[in-house]
Subunit: 155 residues, 2 copies
């Protein structure tokens, strides 16, 4: 796996957030994760399984950014991370991974997606336990930060 495999997830995320929530994130520089830890207040995680590979994807949001996305989608800002917010994060996780799956499928990398899991809790950290390299990509916005992380075995 190399840094290029992050790009389908990056473009899928930008597309999903622009379409669903008129939200633009500024992507930072993708990094091979060593000691860096992806940190957030609410995260969506999903497993991926294919004939050539398996792996995992996560997206973590600061609380403020998650609430802003929710506000733009529904017109009302929740007070805190509630079930509607975790549903929305699960849905974003599915849509971003589904978009990346289509883009990677065109390049001959096929995988199926498991069902998403959403974690909430202030400042939790996420570690992908995969033999392959973990690629992390930070995003900034006026409303808070987000991170995506992708890890595949054997790519």
């Amino acid at each position: 796996m190399n840094v290029e495999f992050i790009n389908p997830f990056l473009s899928s995320l930008m597309n999903v957030l622009a379409t669903m929530a008129q939200t633009e994130l500024t992507p930072g520089k993708p990094k091979i994760k060593k000691d860096e830890v992806a940190c957030g207040d609410v995260s969506g995680l999903i497993g991926m399984v294919g004939p050539q590979t398996k792996g995992s994807f996560s997206i973590s949001f600061d609380e403020g950014l998650a609430l802003t996305i929710m506000e733009r989608m529904l017109g009302e800002r929740p007070d805190k991370i509630n079930e509607e917010v975790t549903d929305m994060v699960g849905e974003i996780t599915n849509m971003v991974t589904g978009g990346a799956k289509n883009l990677l499928g065109e390049k001959g990398y096929e995988f199926d997606m498991a069902t998403p899991i959403v974690v909430s809790g202030p400042g939790h950290t996420i570690t992908h336990k995969c033999d392959g390299p973990k690629i992390i990509m930070p995003f900034t916005s006026a409303d808070g930060n987000a991170n995506i992380e992708v890890s595949f075995d054997k790519l």
Copy 2:
């Protein structure tokens, strides 16, 4: 999916912890999760994808229990949840799911496993975003509590 699908995960977990860490957990009553929230300080999560179904599994530990398991495996108790502990939780997640996969495979339910993800952060909560029912099973021990949760679409 019905409550019986939790049993392969239950017996696999009991087996893994007894073998790896001479640790016995007392299983509570499995419940179809409605409002209950699985809560823990360190959790392992994994996606599952098969021809008939897809889903997700998680196991959450109180910090004290995770550190005790680590101590029994390595002879030394870490001060806090560090990378060795998250590696151990990822490994337990793999082993428990692998054991359950074998047991469910004997019944004709086949799936492949994605790679595990470990979340750490005091008192985080986990929500499986799956159309099917979510089954949660609590465990108690002298050293702290654990929860497993399993969710499959279309079983």
